[in-house]
Symmetry: C2
Amino acid sequence: MPEFIDLLPPDIALTNFLEQIPRQVESEVIEVKSALGRVAVNDVHAPHSLPAFHRSTVDGYAVIASDTHGASDSQPVYLVQIEEIKMGESPDFTLLTTQCGLIHTGGMLPKGSDAVVMLENTQVARPGEIEILRAVAEGENVIKVGEDIAAGAVVVAGGTLLRAAEIGGLLALGITELQVARRPRVGIISSGDEIIPPESVPNPGQVRDINSYSLSALVEQAGGVPQRYGIIPDDYEKLRGGLERAIDENNMVVITAGSSASSRDLTAQVINSLGGPGVITHGVNIRPGKPTILAGCQPAGVDWIKPVIGLPGNPVSALVIGILFVEPVINFLHGQDYLRPRGRLEAKLAINLASKAGREDWVPVKILPVENGFSAEPIFGKSNLIFTLCRADGLLHIPPHSTGLNAGEIAEVMLLN
Amino acid sequence: MPEFIDLLPPDIALTNFLEQIPRQVESEVIEVKSALGRVAVNDVHAPHSLPAFHRSTVDGYAVIASDTHGASDSQPVYLVQIEEIKMGESPDFTLLTTQCGLIHTGGMLPKGSDAVVMLENTQVARPGEIEILRAVAEGENVIKVGEDIAAGAVVVAGGTLLRAAEIGGLLALGITELQVARRPRVGIISSGDEIIPPESVPNPGQVRDINSYSLSALVEQAGGVPQRYGIIPDDYEKLRGGLERAIDENNMVVITAGSSASSRDLTAQVINSLGGPGVITHGVNIRPGKPTILAGCQPAGVDWIKPVIGLPGNPVSALVIGILFVEPVINFLHGQDYLRPRGRLEAKLAINLASKAGREDWVPVKILPVENGFSAEPIFGKSNLIFTLCRADGLLHIPPHSTGLNAGEIAEVMLLN
């Protein structure tokens, strides 16, 4: 095991790493209605303005604003109702001064009108004659042409992850197909002589493979396509062959070593044998997850350097490092340029927690609602127990400069999902 | 449009509603490795302890703790190294007093040993003889049998959403199949005479259907299976027929009215004609989304009351109410008993925002990282513009009791995803 002196803090290790990895985004055209969680490749411009006509935002009467000036409860203005404007239809008349037309929310303003008086501020004087009880300004209660989006404006910027709102916005403009980034394919390898498949019965000394599956779930959630390569024993040639194939067939590879130091060292050795820069960072100043490997490999016949992340074998470290390193690399390869803030909570720490200065700690916590917020209760247990994570709602962050947090302090919790 | 006096606050409206809706969770057996986002139906118990053997948490020497008492740099204890413990194998010897065995992280402790001395605290005196430089207590650097989870303990409680951690935990125990709740099927209907399909070219006065698709995305994200029933014109018989069919074929139905008040009233009328309690709540004290309808219908031939949620036609209200009402109802029908806290941010408001006392407001905001946290900038524009949501990272919450927030105040932002 290398000496972990002068280890990089996680954020700097990640930034350095991404600077050394090329981004090759492949694209495909898909239907917008199925584009949830995909990433737009190019800027998309509005083919026309939205709304495409002046729309009323209320139920009321379309009017010429200047006709209503001075109107009040005590001094109503009287207008002649000439027509009702049907939903979904274009009024076939032009409103003249002293006239008004009944209009519904979302209805199209007739030519000549420039405002709408809310129904509540009107009264039918007699059939065909309407009392206007409040003046309106030009444009009042109206969404003007292009007020939602103007023709030619950028609707969705390239590099944006598509959410329900973007899907709605694109379809509102009649954009039903879109060029999106292909989901990054992520090869997943487990190694370690003690690891067996989950469906097998372990002999004493053996443990079942967790990481292949928990990391697959994480890759899927992050927008990648997981491809599992099974369990490879701690054998240089076998591991090298498996990793080479996984690099060739995917956009990135995640490899979890066995829990022993020799298994981790073998991983680094194999990575360094496969071309490209090899191991860029070995060891990060974080707990859990210190022995993380960040690497780039370019085996013969592969067109560019592909990221390879070596994760510690213990399942908690693997998942935490998965969230902190694998996810951002997937987002990068997926072409995401605008990363929205990730959900978190501020919670009051229930007990004192110590931490080593200089090291970033992530502590599994249970979140409980309390008056005016949340309480975070650390889950006891050694850091490599998978069920500490099953019991946790999130990971409490102790920043590198801190030597610990006191009970009652407010801390940031990253939610696990 | 009914008078919206004494409208319920959203949380109370939702609680009341869920109390009147029966929960009929259907289940199916699926593979655990594909169970991300599914909900366990029953408590799952550990078939055996984990770990199933005493494991070392470090690289070092397995020892009998009492042999090391008093050991220090100046007064080392000398032990005889009898064997190396191979990863994945059960040591075939019993450790006797004054003996030690080389062991790796994750390795199985040999019989007789009860602690591990870290490699750093040892030194090879001569081949086969090890200097122990630090005493260890019984159990030190060891994960004991059952320390992760004890045989028979609840691994995953019924009603729990399965995340990467739960998938890992279940597979660690060899549980490869699981009974989960079927995903709730959610029928989605758009109504309104002005609404046309997204692939059509609107005439003046018409607008494209957004809600069917943005709500489908939201349903999918919440774990439901969306089933779209297209656009139904504002016609009593057609709407009644469509809604009846959607209720019959799904576990719940979401119907977005056209934007006019008459379209919304028609929705309520049709809901009330379809058996069951009909409209339970019409109008909620919230902006956007005030005209929301919460209803339960049981048409002839349908075995139980199914929830029907009527959403305002404007796309922003539809999505906000989708998050605040449709999502929790999907979670309820999906059998979720333990709802984990949803991600949010605390952000400093960039400008003053007014609000009506008694009403809960959700304001679309852009989130910008600033020193020591985040800043929330409200997105200007009328509340029914879809592109205000496309530009937003989240919705800032103004609680009902507040008459507004001042620039610089910290507010809670629910992130949009």
